[in-house]
Amino acid sequence: MLTSDIKSRFPILNQEVNGHPLVYLDSAATSQKPDTVIETISRYYEHDNSNVHRGVHTLGNRATDEYEGARQKVADFIHAASVQEVVFSRGTTTSINMVAQSYGRANVSEGDEIVITYMEHHSNIIPWQQLANATGAVLKYIDLEEDGTLSLDKVRETVTDKTKIVSVMYVSNVLGTMNPVKEIGAIAHEHGAVMVVDAAQAAPHVKVDVQDLDCDFLAFSGHKMCGPTGIGVLYGKKELLEGMEPVEFGGEMIDFVNLYDSTWKELPWKFEGGTPIIAGAIGLGAAIDFLQEIGLDEIERHEHRLAAYAMDRMKEIEGLTIYGPADPARRAGLVTFNLDEVHPHDVATVLDMNGIAVRAGHHCAQPLMKWLGATATARASFYLYNTEEDIDRLVDGLRTAKEYFSDVI
């Protein structure tokens, strides 16, 4: 079990909210940042800040080394075959949009199919809707099983030889389901389609190995994995990225500029137009160091334990519905739920008054909410700094909400 020493590495967690010690259970929205990440960003601005890939002065070299060093850390973290396969972006949304706009526009035409699932986050729905609408392609959804998992049989029924792109989330931000993206990718490849993995909820919590998954593209965000906001990653297989046009044009990404045409830098820089997110990338590098120091296996085990404990404790509360797979082994460290008679916003307000931060709403997954038959739900999500005591506080808070709303009238 991870110890409370980990919690002490996160300065923000050492505070009271509404008169109670803060219990932060909203890491699936954004994680908190450890001291080393905050210090690394601060040190960069205090000592090394400069633009990268230009100029000959010392600070410029330091900044470039740190920025490219962070790229190497990301490549190692996801087991990419080459550092050239790691493109820095603003986050998962930008990364998926890059694939849709560059690879998609060039390779998808009328009558082709794009396949996603009912559980996707809006960031893995709307870029494909836009691509389908612009090209005349058909957007198809893989239906879910009753327990909120995907069956490979349904994947096989949906993916055809007309399918050009299959894009699926690795871990659901609502159901917690861990999806068999490797197996889904194999089915996509049998039909000549590329496999895109939305790893926003996976990269912070489980070991990601892009070579083992054999995915063609993979996207994630820094801020959900102890890094800063505004930095994310698009991984792409080298031969695919090489064949793709940049999405943004301007400084930094060019090789030669003539009056009427230009040529692009080599990978990955042709996709990084403009001054890049230097401090963000360096901060992400520090976050990866921190996660590696603890070990992704240990983090995953810790979260499974917390999820199992939370599900057990929450089942004690009458009238509480938990969504997603019943088997904690099939889900990541989050529990989405509803309490009879109490709207999730009200649940979240009562918990907030007790110092407990949870998410309430549609979680940027409106098609999934429709599938669940709920307009909104509440979600408690766990990370390496959470403890069983945090979950005990959550359960006490939920009892308070239930009691208050049943007593009040």
């Binding site: 509404n18 109670h20 709207h343 999730p344 916003h345 009200d346 307000t349 009562v350 008054m353 007790n354 309430a360 709403g361 549609h362 409106q366 909410m369 307009t375 909104a376 308070t400 208050y404 709303f405 009040v408 009238i409």
Partner: protein, 147 residues
């Protein structure tokens, strides 16, 4: 924890409107129909109004949302029924100012609505309280022939 803090937000009259909503449903052949949602949280309201000769003669709502949004919708329909459109809009402006903690016309009798004043202390919930009112304003504004 004591319920004192919660009582600041969830006054008894709010919970009464939430659990026993007034004017819930839909006016068949209503002169105005407005659907509005709060995209950040999924609350939605379906409001039907009858406006005759510049007066709101009937108002009903349907929808889904938290206690604050549904209680506010119930109170809003109750308050505007029988009012001149301009008075309903004036009430809406007063309510909006009350939510934003701005100075507002306290000569207007807000009735049950006064109970929502505590919401202004909960910034994340202000949009819940104003949804129904925004829907009413939108409906009245779309009425090309209010008189």
């Amino acid at each position: 924890m004591s319920f004192n803090n919660l009582d600041q937000l969830y006054r008894r009259v709010i919970m009464d409107h939430y659990k026993n909503p007034r004017n819930k449903g839909e006016i068949e052949d209503g002169s105005l129909t407005i659907d509005m949602n709060n995209p950040t949280c999924g609350d939605r309201i379906h409001l039907t109004l009858n406006v005759e000769d510049g007066t709101v003669t009937d108002a009903k709502f349907d929808g889904e949302g938290c206690s604050i949004s549904m209680a506010s919708a119930s109170m809003m329909t109750q308050a505007i029924k029988g009012k001149k459109v301009e008075d309903a809009l004036k009430l809406s402006e007063t309510f909006s100012n009350m939510m934003l903690g701005k100075e507002h016309d306290d000569s207007i009798d807000m009735g049950d609505i006064e109970a929502l004043s505590g919401v202004s202390q909960f910034p994340a919930r202000i949009k819940c309280a104003t949804l129904a009112w925004k829907a009413m304003e939108k409906g009245v504004a779309s009425d090309s022939n209010p008189n």
